[in-house]
Amino acid sequence: MRLKDISINNLKRRKGKVFFLILGLTIGITTVVALISITRMMNEDIANKLDEFGANILILPRSDDLSLSYGGMSVGGVSVDAQTLMDSDVPKISRIEVSENIATISPKLIGTVETEGKKISLMGVRFEEELRLKRWWKIHGSEPRSRDEVLLGNEAAVRLFKSAGETLSINGKKVKVSGILEETGSQDDFLIFGDLAFVQETMKKPGGLSLIEVSAYCNTCPIEEIIIQISKQLPHAKVTAIKQTIETKMEALGHFKKFSVGISMIVLLIGSLIVFTNMMASVNERKREIGIFRAIGFRKSHIVRIIFLEALIVGLIAGIFGYILGLGISQIIGPMMTGMKGGKIMIDPLLAIGAIFLSSLIGILSSAYPAIHASKMDPTTALRSL
């Protein structure tokens, strides 16, 4: 017989109490595992949503020519070197190795046109992509459905005295104003948005592009990697990350992570208290036994080892159950909170090992005081009948 047999037999004897001890710790570990898993899911979900919300990569022609500012970024080579970026470059972006990280590619051509006797900036876009990228746009009227329809920025509409449904002449071509954008406070307010092919034709730049905006999911893959891969595909273009957007997103995710860490800490603290009070009660109940052990020659360290071993066994069991339950719960709650589809259970060995290790550590740390307290018990007090 070894000390472990004493620990195991004692745990077997106190089935009810051990059950609640394991349950208490299991709840703690379950919560932590569930929170970590749900946080990961939400992080991914939020990150993806944030990534879809506006572009985070800007592709410009390599040119030192005329600079045009758009969205706070310098857009070069509009008039002189407009051939540097072409329609044919767009599919190349989708061919990069980490193409699954690309959410939206929105090619654009910008130029100045004469309309209603006024010079105004015209931007050719693919409306499907542009509207996906600019989810904050609110359109009075309707989205353009054909190449003869345009959207007007708020300021542009005021300057041109146009409202939705009216027609407009651009370089002599008649187009219909399908809708007016609500004020955005950005450069978009001053622009006319037309179909890309129509604008290329109007500006006599067939296939030409001024810039390409890309929104990439940079949650699972560093944005630098995506940029390097796009640059390889488009050696003639300058690919840059819109750092400000990325930093804002990272900050939002950081807050969320901090919140879940806070909750986890509180739950773990409660779990530790449950183990501590239970172990303390167990030690007090076992005063007589500990007295016998001490009387027949057990050292203090032997008593500590018996109690630590019990805590370790409880911790290991709670860790395993906690991980399994936490994973299960996250699969139910996660999709509800994120709107993502559940179904696939992601077994993360690192999280599993971490949960079991954490549970055992809490078990042992919470039992440290009860164990030392037990070892210091006076055997004569413990053996009152002597």
């Binding site: 004692n10 052990f293 055997p379 002597l386």
Partner: protein, 244 residues
Amino acid sequence: MPACPVVRRSALCRRKRMSLIEIKKLNKVYQSGEERVRALLDVDFTIERGEFVSMMGPSGSGKSTLLTILGGLNHPTQGEVLMDDIPIYKLSLEKLADFRREYLGFVFQSFQLIPYLTVIENVMLPLSITEKSSKEQVKMAQGILERMGLIGKEKRLPDQLSGGEQERVAISRALVNSPPILLADEPTGNLDSKTGKEVMELFKTLNKEGQTIVMVTHNPENMAFSTRTLFLKDGRVEKNGSKT
């Protein structure tokens, strides 16, 4: 000759003295709030190897205190306790635990068996913290259980045994490590008179085989089984009974 255990090596293996236990000017004072209770007053006596000493006295006479002091469980206020020439209360607490394991076997009042361990596990308890292999432990426990007539009951839990059987398990546990001294506190206190007598017969047999026994008892009938009786009253040894 097998290697001496850590504690025994220091004395038993080095020299052999006649007195196994020497108590010199032993005093024990309990402080209870403002009140000082003198449990033992200048107690002096010796116990030789192979003696069976019973300690008698009314409640509060100090006999239980004396037994706990002999058991290395209760530090005296003054005086010296030499066992096999070892001043046991000068040992560190951990060494004192080792001493108890190697020198003493306890038979407690009301058996004090561990309820969740089987008979054989209870007997192996003192061996569980030694280097002995599981096989060796089982062999030693089986040996003593056989002597105590408990073969066939090894796998039972204490509450599945009669009082007499539980007492014999407690004695087996005390003797499994072959300690030089067996300390017993009211070993018949929880037994009917017939079983109590059987246990005392067993003690007598053990003593005849050379086992030194120190027993605290209330029962005057048990006195007859011992070789000497110490009478205690008000913390003093009133009568150091003659050897029978």
